[in-house]
């Protein structure tokens, strides 16, 4: 796990580096709490019973919540990390009450007058190793010259 209180600098990372993964299990209650906070009160996010009435196998995690987990993965890496672009493709249902792991790997570094950025590939996989959500991100990094 990263340390959001410790700075991470552009100069200290390399293409191919993996960020500390985000490991968690979302409870049914957490999923519905998120759905309400995100103004998504649908039954599919509330309970297995209500989700099944919509033809789903059970309660599912909102895609927006998976996006939020990707954002946490990046911002919990360290201080000075600013997400500028975040993209996610929902490839399969994400379920509550199973272990999940979110991964990020740096695929590119680039610097310009607008700042120093990294590009990352993102994966959210479940306990069976199935890649339920994939994505990419562009992150503005602090530099040692101008933290």
């Amino acid at each position: 796990m990263g340390d959001m209180n410790q700075p991470v600098y552009f100069e200290d990372v390399e293409v191919g580096d993996e960020l500390p993964p985000l490991r968690l299990t979302l409870s049914s209650e957490q999923v519905f709490r998120y759905a309400l906070a995100a103004n998504m009160p649908g039954g599919r996010f509330k309970s297995d019973e209500e989700a099944r009435t919509e033809g789903l196998p059970g309660q599912i995690v909102p895609g927006n919540m998976s996006l939020a987990l990707f954002a946490r993965l990046l911002t919990e890496w360290g201080e000075g990390v600013r997400v500028r672009r975040l993209s996610a493709t929902f490839r399969g249902l994400v379920r509550p009450n199973v272990p999940l792991v979110a991964h990020a790997v740096i695929t590119e570094k680039h610097a310009s007058d607008h700042g120093c950025f990294i590009e990352c590939d993102l994966i959210l996989e479940d306990h069976e190793g199935e890649r339920r959500v994939t994505g990419t991100a562009t992150v503005l990094m602090a530099t040692r010259a101008a933290p």
Partner: protein, 128 residues
Amino acid sequence: MEFDRTTFEPITAAEIREYAAACGEVNPAYTGEVDLVAPPTFAVRLRGRHFMPKELHGLGRNGFDAGKDMELGDPIRPGDVLTAVSVVHDVYEKTGRSGTMNFIVFRTTVTNQDEKMVAIIDQRMMFR
């Protein structure tokens, strides 16, 4: 084609903290008492009057959320008055193992009271 333009009530600190807590955020930037800002994905919770053009309402129940692309601008802070403008950004078809799928991309541009961009959100919806 613009199908929705909604200006929301000022964002409150309570909304920001609740969204952060619901995401499992512990970063004091999103949960604290000083210089509170919204977590990066906060703008996805904005709901305009229309999710899609009226002409497409019949598709609504058969759609799946295929993904999202967000570009983030100025941070969202308590007191911000946000305006979200939604358009149909793209329509395309893909054929895969399970057959032909139709995709519609709705783009929502969110600006604050100073007309600064805070988020551009592309919502990809898949319909069979």
